[in-house]
């Protein structure tokens, strides 16, 4: 179970959120809601452990994540606003180096299969610089299929995706939840997922 | 007292430029720095009540 206790976060002199508390058991998902600039991205970065909160703490399986970074980083998969893709590398290379940096590995065949699932047939060996906005996003999301993790923290995963990819992403998330994973996400669109928990900011 | 005249004190037997250059630089620096910090202090103190009111 992922638990957030009494979290407070300041930016400049602005208080984004205060005394925020919620829990997320395995198999459940949580949508962070709020207008533009409400602090959703900031919250997700705090949960991932990239930013230290002013007050409060985040615990995973009853351990504070900042004290037990090894375990937490192994169980966490975070996808932010940034693409984290290198324009010069192909989709397959991007994926395999991404995995390598996290201590996982996967054969090119597996990666190709995953890319195909995400609708990137024929584009695997093109440098990412030539891909369209939606195709880049798909490359990034393919990590969900190849990187084992039990907590997914996804910041606006649905941007730039077309209808078909949106539907596929939803089934991917559902499968993850059925397998006992949990997920936190933000989105301004209405999602085709079974109802989950929500937190509203701002 | 080491000096017989002001003249002697100021010229320092030919080392006046160097001695006074050193002491002068120290004096200037160590007088300006506190003034500068005071300035910062005053700026904050005058700003503070205004912020509180608004």
């Amino acid at each position: 179970m992922l638990a957030v206790n009494q979290l407070t976060c300041l930016r400049g002199e602005r208080r984004l959120f205060q005394q925020l508390t919620f829990e997320l058991p395995e198999g459940q998902w949580l949508q962070v809601q709020g207008a533009n600039g409400a602090g959703k991205t900031t919250l997700l970065r705090v949960v991932a452990g990239l930013v230290a909160p002013q007050e409060g703490e985040v615990t995973w399986r009853s351990q504070p994540i900042r004290e037990n970074r090894d375990q937490w980083n192994r169980d966490l998969l975070y996808l932010g606003h940034h693409a984290a893709l290198k324009e010069e590398l192909t989709a397959v290379e991007n994926l395999s180096y991404g995995l390598g940096l996290e201590g996982f590995s996967s054969s090119p065949e597996q990666l190709n299969a995953a890319l195909h699932q995400f609708g990137l047939k024929d584009r695997e060996y093109l440098p990412v610089r030539y891909l369209s906005a939606g195709q880049r996003r798909r490359v990034l999301l393919t990590r969900l299929l190849v990187r084992p993790a039990s907590v997914w923290v996804l910041d606006e995963p649905y941007t730039a995706l077309d209808v078909q990819a949106t539907a596929f992403l939803s089934t991917v998330i559902e499968t993850h939840l059925e397998r006992g994973g949990c997920a936190i996400l933000t989105s301004h669109q209405t999602l085709g997922l079974h109802p989950g928990r929500t937190v509203s900011l701002g | 007292m080491q000096w017989n005249s002001w003249q002697e004190f100021l010229t320092m037997r030919g080392y006046g430029l160097y001695v006074w250059g050193s002491f002068g630089a120290c004096a200037v620096a160590m007088i300006l720095e506190p003034l500068w910090v005071r300035n910062r202090w005053n700026a904050i103190r005058t700003r503070q009540p205004r912020q509180e009111r608004s």
Partner: protein, 221 residues
């Protein structure tokens, strides 16, 4: 360990794909050292005299040039976040990146140096010492530089700030490095200079990945 190799390989592939990086460093080195005879005039004795200093400064500047791009692209596109969240300890990954930076910016310079030394009319015996001193010196430049690059990551005025922070720390390396070659040219033993260079090298290479990754975590906040 595995993460170290992975980070190293990834950066090398990127550099080779890009070419810009290592070619720029090498090219810059060659240019700096080659323009000098053009600007100063081709007096052999004069050139020989300034050669060790000029070659070392060239190496130092080409390392410095590559530094801002050590972490900045990864920071901009979010890869650095992923590295900070990786189960592999960050220092390993950072160490991989530092070694890659050296292989890309430092090693070509070291290998090129004897050729340029010849151009400056250095005696062949001193060329060996030039290579040794650069071989000890350039990894040290990369290691210390990485810390500066991490501290100034994403800041206004990054480039200038980086030089301001790093150059004072480079000065000892320059003095001992160029000093070694000059000592050898003058026919004295260069051992003292080289030992000191070695001492700085060992310490900086060992501690740099830790300190740098602390600086990176601070920069990511």
């Amino acid at each position: 360990m595995n993460g170290f190799v992975m980070a190293l390989r990834r950066d090398m592939v990127l550099a080779l794909r890009h070419k810009s990086e290592w070619l720029t460093a090498l090219f810059f080195f060659v240019i700096v050292t080659n323009l000098l005879p053009l600007g100063v005039g081709p007096e052999a004795s004069l050139l020989r005299k300034i050669a060790p200093g000029v070659l070392w400064i060239g190496a130092l500047l080409s390392t410095l040039l590559g530094l801002p791009r050590l972490f900045a692209p990864d920071h901009a596109d979010g890869t650095l976040e992923q590295m900070a969240l990786s189960p592999i300890p960050l220092p390993w990954l950072v160490a991989g990146k530092i070694v890659a930076h050296w292989l890309v910016c430092g090693l070509p310079v070291v290998l090129m140096a004897p050729l340029l030394g010849l151009q400056f009319d250095l005696p062949v015996r001193s060329l060996g010492l030039l290579v040794v001193s650069l071989m000890l010196g350039t990894p040290l430049l990369s290691a210390i530089g990485a810390l500066g690059a991490a501290l100034t990551l994403g800041l206004r005025g990054g480039g200038a700030l980086l030089s301001l922070l790093i150059l004072p720390l480079y000065i000892p390396a320059l003095i001992f490095g160029a000093g070694a070659v000059e000592a050898d040219l003058a026919g004295i033993s260069a051992q003292g200079h080289l030992s000191l260079l070695g001492a700085i090298l060992v310490v900086s290479v060992f501690f740099s990945p830790w300190v740098t990754s602390m600086a990176l975590r601070i920069a990511l906040e």
